[in-house]
Protein backbone atom coordinates (compact mmCIF):
# COMPACT_ATOMS: atom_id res chain seq x y z
CA UNK A 1 0.00 0.00 0.00
CA UNK A 2 0.98 3.62 -0.37
CA UNK A 3 2.43 4.99 2.83
CA UNK A 4 3.85 8.28 3.99
CA UNK A 5 7.65 8.10 4.10
CA UNK A 6 10.10 10.71 5.28
CA UNK A 7 13.40 11.34 3.53
CA UNK A 8 15.42 12.57 6.47
CA UNK A 9 18.07 13.92 4.12
CA UNK A 10 15.64 16.54 2.82
CA UNK A 11 13.69 17.39 5.97
CA UNK A 12 14.44 21.03 6.84
CA UNK A 13 12.72 21.05 10.19
CA UNK A 14 10.44 23.87 9.09
CA UNK A 15 7.50 22.22 10.91
CA UNK A 16 5.06 23.25 8.18
CA UNK A 17 3.71 19.68 8.07
CA UNK A 18 2.53 19.96 11.67
CA UNK A 19 0.50 23.05 10.90
CA UNK A 20 -0.82 21.64 7.64
CA UNK A 21 -1.89 18.48 9.50
CA UNK A 22 -3.61 20.43 12.24
CA UNK A 23 -5.36 22.55 9.61
CA UNK A 24 -6.48 19.57 7.53
CA UNK A 25 -7.98 17.93 10.58
CA UNK A 26 -9.59 21.08 11.94
CA UNK A 27 -12.64 20.90 9.71
CA UNK A 28 -12.13 24.56 8.80
CA UNK A 29 -11.59 25.84 5.27
CA UNK A 30 -9.46 28.81 6.30
CA UNK A 31 -6.09 28.22 7.89
CA UNK A 32 -6.05 31.46 9.84
CA UNK A 33 -9.47 30.74 11.34
CA UNK A 34 -8.38 27.20 12.17
CA UNK A 35 -5.02 27.95 13.74
CA UNK A 36 -4.91 31.59 14.81
CA UNK A 37 -4.16 32.08 18.48
CA UNK A 38 -3.63 28.40 19.12
CA UNK A 39 -0.45 26.99 20.59
CA UNK A 40 1.33 23.99 19.13
CA UNK A 41 1.41 21.09 21.59
CA UNK A 42 -1.41 22.30 23.79
CA UNK A 43 -4.19 23.65 21.56
CA UNK A 44 -2.90 22.12 18.34
CA UNK A 45 -2.31 18.38 18.32
CA UNK A 46 -1.13 17.38 14.85
CA UNK A 47 -0.76 13.72 13.94
CA UNK A 48 2.70 14.30 12.54
CA UNK A 49 5.54 15.66 14.64
CA UNK A 50 9.00 16.80 13.60
CA UNK A 51 11.88 15.64 15.75
CA UNK A 52 14.77 18.10 15.77
CA UNK A 53 18.07 16.61 16.88
CA UNK A 54 21.00 18.47 18.39
CA UNK A 55 23.17 17.62 15.37
CA UNK A 56 20.90 19.60 13.09
CA UNK A 57 19.03 16.62 11.65
CA UNK A 58 15.27 16.70 11.44
CA UNK A 59 12.75 13.95 10.97
CA UNK A 60 8.99 14.07 10.66
CA UNK A 61 7.25 11.13 12.34
CA UNK A 62 3.74 9.86 11.88
CA UNK A 63 1.96 6.48 11.71
CA UNK A 64 3.95 3.88 9.76
CA UNK A 65 0.92 1.65 9.28
CA UNK A 66 2.93 -1.33 10.54
CA UNK A 67 2.24 -4.76 9.08
CA UNK A 68 2.14 -6.19 12.60
CA UNK A 69 0.89 -3.15 14.52
CA UNK A 70 1.33 -3.25 18.29
CA UNK A 71 -1.42 -0.69 18.71
CA UNK A 72 -3.98 -2.91 17.01
CA UNK A 73 -2.80 -5.96 18.96
CA UNK A 74 -3.09 -4.13 22.25
CA UNK A 75 -6.39 -2.37 21.66
CA UNK A 76 -8.87 -3.56 24.30
CA UNK A 77 -11.99 -2.16 22.67
CA UNK A 78 -11.47 -3.15 19.05
CA UNK A 79 -11.27 0.50 18.02
CA UNK A 80 -8.01 -0.02 16.14
CA UNK A 81 -7.79 -2.37 13.18
CA UNK A 82 -6.08 -2.87 9.87
CA UNK A 83 -8.26 -2.45 6.82
CA UNK A 84 -7.99 -4.60 3.69
CA UNK A 85 -5.38 -2.21 2.19
CA UNK A 86 -3.22 -2.47 5.30
CA UNK A 87 -3.96 0.97 6.70
CA UNK A 88 -4.23 1.11 10.47
CA UNK A 89 -7.58 2.74 11.13
CA UNK A 90 -9.28 3.99 14.24
CA UNK A 91 -12.98 3.89 15.00
CA UNK A 92 -13.21 6.85 17.32
CA UNK A 93 -16.67 5.79 18.49
CA UNK A 94 -15.32 2.54 19.88
CA UNK A 95 -12.24 4.03 21.58
CA UNK A 96 -12.56 4.06 25.37
CA UNK A 97 -9.48 6.22 25.93
CA UNK A 98 -7.41 3.66 27.84
CA UNK A 99 -4.26 4.95 26.04
CA UNK A 100 -2.69 1.46 25.87
CA UNK A 101 -1.94 2.07 22.19
CA UNK A 102 -0.13 5.28 23.07
CA UNK A 103 2.09 3.35 25.46
CA UNK A 104 2.96 0.58 23.01
CA UNK A 105 3.52 2.58 19.81
CA UNK A 106 7.30 2.67 19.34
CA UNK A 107 7.07 5.77 17.15
CA UNK A 108 4.85 7.90 19.35
CA UNK A 109 2.52 8.12 16.37
CA UNK A 110 -0.71 7.75 18.35
CA UNK A 111 -1.57 10.58 20.66
CA UNK A 112 -4.38 12.05 22.75
CA UNK A 113 -6.74 14.24 20.80
CA UNK A 114 -7.89 16.41 23.67
CA UNK A 115 -11.07 14.37 24.19
CA UNK A 116 -11.58 10.72 25.10
CA UNK A 117 -10.64 8.94 21.88
CA UNK A 118 -7.01 8.86 20.76
CA UNK A 119 -5.99 10.07 17.31
CA UNK A 120 -3.58 8.93 14.65
CA UNK A 121 -2.74 9.64 11.02
CA UNK A 122 -5.43 8.33 8.71
CA UNK A 123 -3.61 9.52 5.56
CA UNK A 124 -6.18 12.34 5.36
CA UNK A 125 -8.95 9.87 4.44
CA UNK A 126 -11.00 11.17 7.36
CA UNK A 127 -10.96 14.84 6.39
CA UNK A 128 -11.61 17.05 3.38
CA UNK A 129 -7.97 17.27 2.25
CA UNK A 130 -8.36 14.30 -0.11
CA UNK A 131 -4.65 13.51 -0.11
CA UNK A 132 -2.12 13.67 2.73
CA UNK A 133 -1.86 17.39 3.44
CA UNK A 134 1.62 17.15 4.97
CA UNK A 135 2.92 15.59 1.75
CA UNK A 136 1.16 18.13 -0.44
CA UNK A 137 2.69 21.10 1.38
CA UNK A 138 6.18 19.81 2.15
CA UNK A 139 8.43 22.37 0.43
CA UNK A 140 11.35 20.00 -0.17
CA UNK A 141 9.81 16.62 -1.03
CA UNK A 142 11.00 15.36 2.34
CA UNK A 143 7.61 13.79 3.03
CA UNK A 144 6.37 11.55 0.24
CA UNK A 145 3.32 9.35 -0.25
CA UNK A 146 4.28 6.34 -2.29
CA UNK A 147 4.41 2.58 -2.74
CA UNK A 148 7.71 1.05 -1.64
Amino acid sequence: MKRIYVNEQWCLGCHLCEYECAFANSGETDMVKALKGKKMGTDLLPRIRVEDAEDGSHFAVNCRHCTDPRCVNSCISGALSRDEEGMVVIDRDKCVGCFTCILVCPYGAIMPSGGKPVQKCMLCTDNAAGEPNCVKHCPNNAIVYEER
Binding site: L12, V32, G56, P139, A142
Partner: protein
Protein backbone atom coordinates in the same frame (compact mmCIF):
# COMPACT_ATOMS: atom_id res chain seq x y z
CA UNK B 1 24.89 47.37 10.20
CA UNK B 2 25.27 50.99 9.25
CA UNK B 3 23.43 53.44 11.47
CA UNK B 4 23.32 55.98 8.63
CA UNK B 5 21.17 53.71 6.47
CA UNK B 6 17.50 52.99 6.94
CA UNK B 7 16.62 49.44 5.77
CA UNK B 8 15.91 49.48 2.04
CA UNK B 9 13.17 46.89 2.38
CA UNK B 10 10.72 46.35 5.17
CA UNK B 11 9.17 43.12 6.36
CA UNK B 12 5.43 43.66 6.61
CA UNK B 13 3.44 41.17 8.65
CA UNK B 14 -0.33 41.00 8.63
CA UNK B 15 -0.86 40.14 12.28
CA UNK B 16 -4.46 39.17 11.55
CA UNK B 17 -3.16 36.38 9.37
CA UNK B 18 -0.02 35.36 11.26
CA UNK B 19 -0.54 32.11 13.17
CA UNK B 20 2.93 32.30 14.79
CA UNK B 21 3.96 28.94 13.33
CA UNK B 22 7.55 30.31 13.25
CA UNK B 23 8.32 28.82 9.85
CA UNK B 24 9.73 32.24 8.81
CA UNK B 25 12.00 32.23 11.85
CA UNK B 26 13.33 28.73 11.12
CA UNK B 27 13.88 29.47 7.44
CA UNK B 28 15.72 32.77 7.73
CA UNK B 29 19.50 32.45 7.80
CA UNK B 30 19.76 36.19 8.41
CA UNK B 31 17.87 36.06 11.69
CA UNK B 32 15.16 38.50 10.67
CA UNK B 33 12.19 36.84 12.39
CA UNK B 34 11.78 36.04 16.06
CA UNK B 35 8.91 34.95 18.29
CA UNK B 36 8.58 37.20 21.30
CA UNK B 37 6.98 35.26 24.14
CA UNK B 38 6.27 38.42 26.17
CA UNK B 39 4.44 40.08 23.30
CA UNK B 40 2.98 36.73 22.24
CA UNK B 41 3.70 37.43 18.58
CA UNK B 42 6.27 37.32 15.83
CA UNK B 43 8.51 40.32 15.31
CA UNK B 44 10.91 41.16 12.49
CA UNK B 45 14.17 43.06 12.16
CA UNK B 46 14.08 44.56 8.66
CA UNK B 47 17.68 45.68 9.02
CA UNK B 48 18.83 42.12 8.48
CA UNK B 49 16.45 41.34 5.59
CA UNK B 50 18.00 40.80 2.15
CA UNK B 51 14.59 40.43 0.46
CA UNK B 52 15.14 36.83 -0.71
CA UNK B 53 11.45 36.01 -0.24
CA UNK B 54 12.08 32.63 1.39
CA UNK B 55 9.78 33.50 4.32
CA UNK B 56 7.20 35.04 2.02
CA UNK B 57 7.04 31.88 -0.09
CA UNK B 58 6.88 29.49 2.86
CA UNK B 59 4.43 31.40 5.04
CA UNK B 60 1.38 29.11 5.00
CA UNK B 61 -1.13 31.92 5.53
CA UNK B 62 0.52 34.54 3.27
CA UNK B 63 0.87 36.85 6.24
CA UNK B 64 4.22 38.22 5.04
CA UNK B 65 5.34 40.55 2.32
CA UNK B 66 8.47 42.61 1.74
CA UNK B 67 7.99 46.22 0.71
CA UNK B 68 10.36 48.79 -0.62
CA UNK B 69 10.86 51.19 2.21
CA UNK B 70 8.94 54.42 1.84
CA UNK B 71 11.61 56.22 3.80
CA UNK B 72 13.17 58.81 1.48
CA UNK B 73 15.93 61.33 1.62
CA UNK B 74 15.21 64.77 0.15
CA UNK B 75 14.52 64.15 -3.53
CA UNK B 76 17.65 64.73 -5.58
CA UNK B 77 17.92 63.67 -9.20
CA UNK B 78 21.70 63.64 -8.99
CA UNK B 79 22.20 62.05 -5.58
CA UNK B 80 19.59 59.33 -5.42
CA UNK B 81 19.06 57.19 -2.33
CA UNK B 82 21.09 54.26 -3.63
CA UNK B 83 24.07 56.45 -4.47
CA UNK B 84 23.97 58.08 -1.05
CA UNK B 85 23.69 54.73 0.73
CA UNK B 86 26.72 53.41 -1.13
CA UNK B 87 28.72 56.38 0.11
CA UNK B 88 27.57 55.69 3.68
CA UNK B 89 28.44 52.01 3.28
CA UNK B 90 31.95 52.73 2.05
CA UNK B 91 32.50 55.45 4.66
CA UNK B 92 31.59 52.83 7.22
CA UNK B 93 33.57 49.88 5.88
CA UNK B 94 36.42 51.42 3.90
CA UNK B 95 36.02 48.59 1.41
CA UNK B 96 35.28 47.94 -2.24
CA UNK B 97 31.52 47.53 -2.71
CA UNK B 98 30.60 43.97 -3.58
CA UNK B 99 27.54 42.82 -5.50
CA UNK B 100 26.10 39.61 -6.82
CA UNK B 101 24.12 38.51 -9.87
CA UNK B 102 23.82 40.71 -12.95
CA UNK B 103 23.94 44.44 -13.47
CA UNK B 104 20.56 45.77 -12.20
CA UNK B 105 20.94 49.31 -13.58
CA UNK B 106 18.37 50.65 -16.06
CA UNK B 107 20.57 50.42 -19.15
CA UNK B 108 18.87 49.69 -22.49
CA UNK B 109 17.79 46.09 -22.95
CA UNK B 110 18.05 45.63 -26.70
CA UNK B 111 16.16 42.32 -26.64
CA UNK B 112 13.11 44.38 -25.70
CA UNK B 113 13.70 46.78 -28.57
CA UNK B 114 13.46 44.13 -31.26
CA UNK B 115 10.40 42.51 -32.79
CA UNK B 116 10.25 39.09 -34.44
CA UNK B 117 8.66 38.59 -37.86
CA UNK B 118 5.85 36.21 -38.82
CA UNK B 119 4.49 34.84 -42.08
CA UNK B 120 1.25 36.12 -43.62
CA UNK B 121 -0.47 35.01 -46.84
CA UNK B 122 2.45 34.88 -49.25
CA UNK B 123 4.68 32.60 -47.26
CA UNK B 124 3.17 29.85 -45.16
CA UNK B 125 3.78 29.56 -41.45
CA UNK B 126 4.41 26.11 -40.01
CA UNK B 127 2.49 24.41 -37.22
CA UNK B 128 5.12 22.84 -34.96
CA UNK B 129 2.56 20.45 -33.51
CA UNK B 130 1.94 18.91 -36.94
CA UNK B 131 5.20 19.29 -38.79
CA UNK B 132 8.79 18.51 -37.87
CA UNK B 133 10.66 21.39 -36.29
CA UNK B 134 14.40 20.97 -35.85
CA UNK B 135 15.91 22.52 -32.75
CA UNK B 136 19.06 20.39 -32.68
CA UNK B 137 22.27 22.35 -33.15
CA UNK B 138 25.87 21.25 -33.45
CA UNK B 139 28.57 23.46 -32.00
CA UNK B 140 32.12 23.40 -33.33
CA UNK B 141 34.15 24.13 -36.41
CA UNK B 142 31.98 23.37 -39.42
CA UNK B 143 34.39 23.99 -42.27
CA UNK B 144 36.82 21.34 -43.41
CA UNK B 145 38.63 20.60 -46.62
CA UNK B 146 37.11 17.61 -48.32
CA UNK B 147 39.61 14.77 -48.42
CA UNK B 148 39.17 11.41 -50.11
CA UNK B 149 40.77 8.08 -49.39
CA UNK B 150 42.35 5.80 -51.99
CA UNK B 151 38.90 4.50 -52.97
CA UNK B 152 37.55 7.96 -53.52
CA UNK B 153 35.38 7.85 -50.43
CA UNK B 154 35.12 11.07 -48.42
CA UNK B 155 37.12 10.93 -45.22
CA UNK B 156 35.34 11.97 -42.06
CA UNK B 157 37.67 14.69 -40.89
CA UNK B 158 35.02 16.82 -39.17
CA UNK B 159 36.40 18.24 -35.92
CA UNK B 160 34.60 17.23 -32.71
CA UNK B 161 31.14 18.75 -32.24
CA UNK B 162 28.73 19.26 -29.36
CA UNK B 163 25.20 18.10 -30.09
CA UNK B 164 22.48 20.12 -28.35
CA UNK B 165 18.83 19.09 -28.45
CA UNK B 166 17.97 22.79 -28.20
CA UNK B 167 20.13 25.88 -28.59
CA UNK B 168 20.49 26.49 -24.85
CA UNK B 169 23.14 25.48 -22.31
CA UNK B 170 23.61 26.18 -18.60
CA UNK B 171 26.42 28.66 -18.20
CA UNK B 172 29.50 28.41 -16.04
CA UNK B 173 28.79 28.48 -12.33
CA UNK B 174 31.45 26.99 -10.10
CA UNK B 175 31.06 24.52 -7.28
CA UNK B 176 31.98 26.88 -4.47
CA UNK B 177 30.02 29.81 -5.76
CA UNK B 178 26.96 27.56 -5.92
CA UNK B 179 26.16 24.49 -3.87
CA UNK B 180 26.58 20.77 -4.44
CA UNK B 181 22.82 20.39 -4.82
CA UNK B 182 22.64 23.22 -7.35
CA UNK B 183 25.33 21.48 -9.40
CA UNK B 184 23.53 18.16 -9.05
CA UNK B 185 20.32 19.76 -10.33
CA UNK B 186 22.07 21.32 -13.34
CA UNK B 187 23.95 18.12 -14.20
CA UNK B 188 20.89 15.91 -14.00
CA UNK B 189 18.79 18.34 -16.01
CA UNK B 190 21.48 18.68 -18.69
CA UNK B 191 21.65 14.90 -19.03
CA UNK B 192 17.89 14.51 -19.31
CA UNK B 193 17.59 17.38 -21.80
CA UNK B 194 20.53 16.41 -24.00
CA UNK B 195 22.31 19.72 -23.44
CA UNK B 196 25.34 20.79 -21.39
CA UNK B 197 26.11 22.43 -18.11
CA UNK B 198 29.38 24.09 -17.24
CA UNK B 199 31.54 23.51 -14.17
CA UNK B 200 32.82 27.06 -14.00
CA UNK B 201 36.31 27.40 -12.67
CA UNK B 202 35.77 25.39 -9.51
CA UNK B 203 36.67 21.91 -10.72
CA UNK B 204 34.34 18.95 -10.98
CA UNK B 205 33.18 17.14 -7.85
CA UNK B 206 33.97 13.41 -8.08
CA UNK B 207 30.26 12.55 -7.75
CA UNK B 208 29.52 14.36 -11.02
CA UNK B 209 32.01 12.58 -13.27
CA UNK B 210 29.17 10.34 -14.37
CA UNK B 211 27.51 13.30 -16.04
CA UNK B 212 30.69 13.89 -18.05
CA UNK B 213 29.10 13.56 -21.47
CA UNK B 214 26.89 16.54 -20.61
CA UNK B 215 29.60 18.54 -18.89
CA UNK B 216 31.73 21.41 -20.13
CA UNK B 217 34.75 21.85 -17.88
CA UNK B 218 36.40 25.19 -17.49
CA UNK B 219 40.07 26.06 -17.43
CA UNK B 220 40.39 29.51 -15.91
CA UNK B 221 43.21 31.74 -14.78
CA UNK B 222 43.40 30.07 -11.36
CA UNK B 223 43.58 26.60 -12.97
CA UNK B 224 41.51 25.25 -10.08
CA UNK B 225 40.74 21.54 -10.22
CA UNK B 226 42.33 21.01 -13.63
CA UNK B 227 43.88 17.58 -14.13
CA UNK B 228 43.89 14.77 -16.67
CA UNK B 229 40.70 13.02 -15.53
CA UNK B 230 38.85 16.33 -15.36
CA UNK B 231 39.64 17.05 -19.00
CA UNK B 232 39.04 13.46 -20.12
CA UNK B 233 35.63 13.24 -18.49
CA UNK B 234 34.22 16.34 -20.14
CA UNK B 235 32.38 16.75 -23.43
CA UNK B 236 34.16 20.04 -24.09
CA UNK B 237 36.74 22.31 -22.48
CA UNK B 238 36.19 26.02 -21.98
CA UNK B 239 39.04 28.45 -21.48
CA UNK B 240 37.68 31.34 -19.46
CA UNK B 241 39.35 34.58 -20.49
CA UNK B 242 36.69 36.86 -19.09
CA UNK B 243 33.28 37.16 -17.50
CA UNK B 244 30.58 39.64 -18.46
CA UNK B 245 29.89 40.73 -14.89
CA UNK B 246 33.53 41.58 -14.27
CA UNK B 247 35.56 41.96 -17.44
CA UNK B 248 39.22 42.51 -16.85
CA UNK B 249 39.34 41.25 -13.31
CA UNK B 250 39.69 37.85 -11.67
CA UNK B 251 37.76 36.15 -8.95
CA UNK B 252 37.94 35.76 -5.20
CA UNK B 253 36.25 32.92 -3.35
CA UNK B 254 36.50 33.66 0.37
CA UNK B 255 38.20 31.04 2.55
CA UNK B 256 35.04 30.40 4.57
CA UNK B 257 33.43 28.97 1.45
CA UNK B 258 36.35 26.56 0.89
CA UNK B 259 34.87 23.56 2.66
CA UNK B 260 36.49 20.10 2.73
CA UNK B 261 34.66 19.12 -0.45
CA UNK B 262 35.30 22.39 -2.27
CA UNK B 263 38.95 22.18 -1.25
CA UNK B 264 39.28 18.62 -2.62
CA UNK B 265 37.48 19.54 -5.84
CA UNK B 266 39.51 22.69 -6.48
CA UNK B 267 42.76 21.06 -5.32
CA UNK B 268 43.54 23.96 -2.97
CA UNK B 269 43.96 24.21 0.83
CA UNK B 270 40.87 24.32 2.99
CA UNK B 271 39.80 27.66 4.44
CA UNK B 272 42.23 29.71 2.37
CA UNK B 273 40.95 32.36 -0.06
CA UNK B 274 40.91 31.17 -3.67
CA UNK B 275 42.16 33.93 -5.96
CA UNK B 276 41.70 33.72 -9.72
CA UNK B 277 44.16 36.15 -11.28
CA UNK B 278 42.81 38.80 -13.65
CA UNK B 279 44.74 37.52 -16.68
CA UNK B 280 46.00 34.04 -17.44
CA UNK B 281 49.63 34.58 -16.57
CA UNK B 282 50.70 32.61 -19.64
CA UNK B 283 48.43 34.39 -22.12
CA UNK B 284 49.34 37.81 -23.43
CA UNK B 285 48.49 37.36 -27.11
CA UNK B 286 46.37 35.36 -29.51
CA UNK B 287 49.46 33.20 -30.10
CA UNK B 288 49.67 32.44 -26.37
CA UNK B 289 45.97 31.58 -26.37
CA UNK B 290 46.58 29.26 -29.30
CA UNK B 291 49.25 27.47 -27.27
CA UNK B 292 46.83 26.79 -24.42
CA UNK B 293 44.10 25.68 -26.84
CA UNK B 294 46.44 23.20 -28.50
CA UNK B 295 47.86 22.08 -25.15
CA UNK B 296 44.35 21.14 -24.11
CA UNK B 297 43.56 19.55 -27.49
CA UNK B 298 46.80 17.56 -27.35
CA UNK B 299 46.00 16.44 -23.80
CA UNK B 300 42.63 15.14 -24.93
CA UNK B 301 43.69 13.64 -28.25
CA UNK B 302 41.75 16.20 -30.33
CA UNK B 303 38.51 14.52 -29.25
CA UNK B 304 36.87 17.53 -27.62
CA UNK B 305 35.91 20.97 -28.87
CA UNK B 306 37.59 23.87 -27.09
CA UNK B 307 35.52 26.91 -26.18
CA UNK B 308 37.04 30.31 -25.46
CA UNK B 309 34.88 32.52 -23.30
CA UNK B 310 35.39 36.27 -23.43
CA UNK B 311 33.54 39.21 -21.95
CA UNK B 312 31.78 41.64 -24.30
CA UNK B 313 34.07 44.67 -24.30
CA UNK B 314 34.55 47.58 -26.68
CA UNK B 315 36.78 45.81 -29.17
CA UNK B 316 34.97 42.48 -28.98
CA UNK B 317 34.67 41.91 -32.74
CA UNK B 318 38.41 42.12 -33.34
CA UNK B 319 39.11 39.97 -30.30
CA UNK B 320 36.61 37.36 -31.50
CA UNK B 321 38.27 37.37 -34.89
CA UNK B 322 41.59 36.63 -33.21
CA UNK B 323 40.02 33.88 -31.10
CA UNK B 324 38.46 32.35 -34.21
CA UNK B 325 41.91 32.16 -35.76
CA UNK B 326 43.53 30.78 -32.62
CA UNK B 327 42.12 27.29 -33.05
CA UNK B 328 39.08 27.64 -30.80
CA UNK B 329 36.04 25.62 -31.95
CA UNK B 330 33.51 27.76 -30.13
CA UNK B 331 33.54 31.36 -28.90
CA UNK B 332 31.38 32.21 -25.91
CA UNK B 333 30.66 35.90 -25.37
CA UNK B 334 29.34 37.14 -22.05
CA UNK B 335 27.54 40.48 -22.00
CA UNK B 336 27.61 43.17 -19.34
CA UNK B 337 24.38 42.03 -17.72
CA UNK B 338 25.82 38.57 -17.00
CA UNK B 339 25.60 37.22 -13.49
CA UNK B 340 28.22 36.55 -10.86
CA UNK B 341 28.56 35.12 -7.38
CA UNK B 342 30.46 38.23 -6.36
CA UNK B 343 31.95 41.18 -8.19
CA UNK B 344 33.02 44.69 -7.31
CA UNK B 345 29.86 46.77 -7.81
CA UNK B 346 31.57 49.49 -9.83
CA UNK B 347 33.00 46.93 -12.28
CA UNK B 348 29.74 45.04 -12.63
CA UNK B 349 27.69 48.16 -13.22
CA UNK B 350 30.05 50.11 -15.50
CA UNK B 351 32.34 47.80 -17.46
CA UNK B 352 31.54 46.01 -20.72
CA UNK B 353 28.84 46.37 -23.36
CA UNK B 354 25.41 44.82 -23.98
CA UNK B 355 25.54 41.33 -25.46
CA UNK B 356 23.09 42.14 -28.26
CA UNK B 357 25.46 44.74 -29.74
CA UNK B 358 28.52 42.57 -29.19
CA UNK B 359 26.88 39.57 -30.82
CA UNK B 360 25.76 41.53 -33.89
CA UNK B 361 29.24 42.94 -34.38
CA UNK B 362 31.06 39.64 -33.83
CA UNK B 363 28.81 37.79 -36.27
CA UNK B 364 29.21 40.57 -38.82
CA UNK B 365 32.98 40.68 -38.46
CA UNK B 366 33.41 36.91 -38.74
CA UNK B 367 31.24 36.90 -41.87
CA UNK B 368 33.19 39.75 -43.44
CA UNK B 369 36.38 37.82 -42.85
CA UNK B 370 34.82 34.56 -44.16
CA UNK B 371 35.62 32.71 -40.97
CA UNK B 372 32.12 32.56 -39.48
CA UNK B 373 31.82 28.81 -39.97
CA UNK B 374 35.22 28.14 -38.44
CA UNK B 375 33.65 28.68 -35.04
CA UNK B 376 30.31 28.52 -33.32
CA UNK B 377 29.20 31.53 -31.33
CA UNK B 378 27.47 31.12 -27.98
CA UNK B 379 26.16 34.18 -26.16
CA UNK B 380 25.41 34.81 -22.52
CA UNK B 381 24.63 37.77 -20.33
CA UNK B 382 20.97 37.85 -19.41
CA UNK B 383 19.00 35.70 -21.80
CA UNK B 384 15.69 35.85 -19.99
CA UNK B 385 13.18 34.05 -22.17
CA UNK B 386 12.67 31.97 -25.29
CA UNK B 387 12.07 35.22 -27.20
CA UNK B 388 15.55 36.41 -26.21
CA UNK B 389 16.92 33.07 -27.47
CA UNK B 390 15.18 33.49 -30.83
CA UNK B 391 16.42 37.08 -31.17
CA UNK B 392 19.97 36.02 -30.27
CA UNK B 393 19.91 33.34 -32.96
CA UNK B 394 18.50 35.76 -35.53
CA UNK B 395 21.36 38.13 -34.66
CA UNK B 396 23.83 35.34 -35.39
CA UNK B 397 24.31 33.16 -32.32
CA UNK B 398 24.50 29.37 -32.62
CA UNK B 399 23.28 28.89 -29.06
CA UNK B 400 22.94 30.71 -25.75
CA UNK B 401 24.11 30.13 -22.22
CA UNK B 402 21.65 30.77 -19.40
CA UNK B 403 22.78 31.22 -15.80
CA UNK B 404 20.44 33.52 -13.94
CA UNK B 405 17.31 32.04 -15.56
CA UNK B 406 18.46 28.56 -14.47
CA UNK B 407 19.03 29.73 -10.90
CA UNK B 408 15.59 31.35 -10.86
CA UNK B 409 14.15 27.96 -11.81
CA UNK B 410 15.91 26.56 -8.73
CA UNK B 411 14.26 29.11 -6.45
CA UNK B 412 16.59 32.12 -6.61
CA UNK B 413 14.64 35.35 -6.06
CA UNK B 414 17.47 37.67 -7.14
CA UNK B 415 18.13 39.18 -3.73
CA UNK B 416 21.68 39.60 -5.03
CA UNK B 417 23.32 38.58 -1.77
CA UNK B 418 25.24 35.54 -3.05
CA UNK B 419 28.50 36.98 -1.73
CA UNK B 420 27.25 36.63 1.86
CA UNK B 421 27.17 32.83 1.49
CA UNK B 422 23.87 32.64 3.40
CA UNK B 423 21.54 31.85 0.50
CA UNK B 424 18.22 30.83 1.99
CA UNK B 425 17.33 28.88 -1.14
CA UNK B 426 20.33 26.53 -0.82
CA UNK B 427 21.91 27.75 -4.06
CA UNK B 428 24.77 30.16 -3.39
CA UNK B 429 25.95 28.69 -0.11
CA UNK B 430 28.11 25.92 1.32
CA UNK B 431 26.30 25.80 4.68
CA UNK B 432 25.05 22.21 4.99
CA UNK B 433 21.75 23.19 6.61
CA UNK B 434 21.04 25.65 3.80
CA UNK B 435 22.31 23.44 0.96
CA UNK B 436 19.81 20.73 1.86
CA UNK B 437 16.97 23.15 1.13
CA UNK B 438 17.57 22.53 -2.56
CA UNK B 439 16.45 18.98 -3.26
CA UNK B 440 17.95 18.08 -6.67
CA UNK B 441 14.90 15.92 -7.42
CA UNK B 442 12.86 19.12 -7.44
CA UNK B 443 15.64 21.30 -8.89
CA UNK B 444 16.35 19.07 -11.89
CA UNK B 445 12.65 18.69 -12.62
CA UNK B 446 12.09 22.45 -12.58
CA UNK B 447 15.03 23.04 -14.91
CA UNK B 448 13.76 20.39 -17.31
CA UNK B 449 10.30 21.96 -17.19
CA UNK B 450 11.68 25.41 -17.95
CA UNK B 451 13.76 24.19 -20.90
CA UNK B 452 10.89 22.17 -22.34
CA UNK B 453 8.65 25.23 -22.08
CA UNK B 454 11.22 27.44 -23.81
CA UNK B 455 11.82 24.87 -26.52
CA UNK B 456 8.08 24.71 -27.26
CA UNK B 457 7.97 28.49 -27.47
CA UNK B 458 11.03 28.61 -29.74
CA UNK B 459 9.32 26.14 -32.07
CA UNK B 460 6.16 28.23 -32.08
CA UNK B 461 8.06 31.41 -32.97
CA UNK B 462 10.09 29.63 -35.66
CA UNK B 463 6.93 28.13 -37.10
CA UNK B 464 5.35 31.57 -37.19
CA UNK B 465 8.24 32.80 -39.28
CA UNK B 466 7.89 29.83 -41.60
CA UNK B 467 11.26 28.50 -40.53
CA UNK B 468 11.66 24.86 -39.59
CA UNK B 469 15.19 24.67 -38.24
CA UNK B 470 17.49 26.68 -36.03
CA UNK B 471 20.06 26.51 -38.84
CA UNK B 472 17.84 28.56 -41.14
CA UNK B 473 17.15 31.11 -38.46
CA UNK B 474 20.76 31.75 -37.49
CA UNK B 475 21.95 35.19 -38.58
CA UNK B 476 18.61 35.80 -40.29
CA UNK B 477 18.43 39.45 -39.30
CA UNK B 478 15.62 40.20 -41.71
CA UNK B 479 13.46 38.42 -39.15
CA UNK B 480 14.14 41.25 -36.68
CA UNK B 481 12.93 44.84 -36.59
CA UNK B 482 14.01 47.51 -34.13
CA UNK B 483 11.72 49.78 -32.16
CA UNK B 484 12.74 53.10 -30.65
CA UNK B 485 16.35 52.74 -31.78
CA UNK B 486 18.63 55.36 -33.32
CA UNK B 487 20.13 55.00 -36.79
CA UNK B 488 23.44 54.11 -35.18
CA UNK B 489 21.95 51.43 -32.94
CA UNK B 490 20.17 49.90 -35.94
CA UNK B 491 23.42 50.00 -37.88
CA UNK B 492 25.35 48.26 -35.10
CA UNK B 493 22.63 45.62 -34.72
CA UNK B 494 22.39 45.28 -38.50
CA UNK B 495 18.61 45.39 -38.52
CA UNK B 496 15.88 47.56 -40.02
CA UNK B 497 13.48 49.66 -38.00
CA UNK B 498 9.92 48.40 -37.49
CA UNK B 499 7.81 49.55 -40.41
CA UNK B 500 10.65 49.30 -42.91
CA UNK B 501 10.26 46.55 -45.48
CA UNK B 502 12.98 44.22 -46.71
Amino acid sequence: MDTYIYPEYEVVRDTDKCIACRVCERQCSNGVHRYDADLGKMIADSDRCVNCHRCVCLCPTHALKIKKSEDTYRINANWDGQTMNEIYRQANSGGVLLSSMGNPKPYPIYWDKMFINASQVTNPSIDPLREPMETVVYLGKHTVDIERDANGKIKNNLPPQLRLSMPIMFSAMSYGSISYNAHASLARAAEELGIYYNTGEGGLHRDFYRYGKNTIVQVASGRFGVHKDYLDTAAAIEIKMGQGAKPGIGGHLPGKKISVEVSATRMIPQGVDAISPAPHHDIYSIEDLRQLIYTLKEATAYQKPVIVKIAAVHNVAAIASGVARSGADIIAIDGFRGGTGAAPTRIRDNVGIPIELALAQVDERLRQESIRDNVSVVVAGSVRSSADVVKAICLGADAVYIGTAALLALGCHLCRSCHTGKCNWGIATQDKELVKRLNPDIGAKRLVNLMHAWNHEIQEMMGGMGINSIESMRGNRLMLRGIGLTEKELEVLGIHHAGEAM
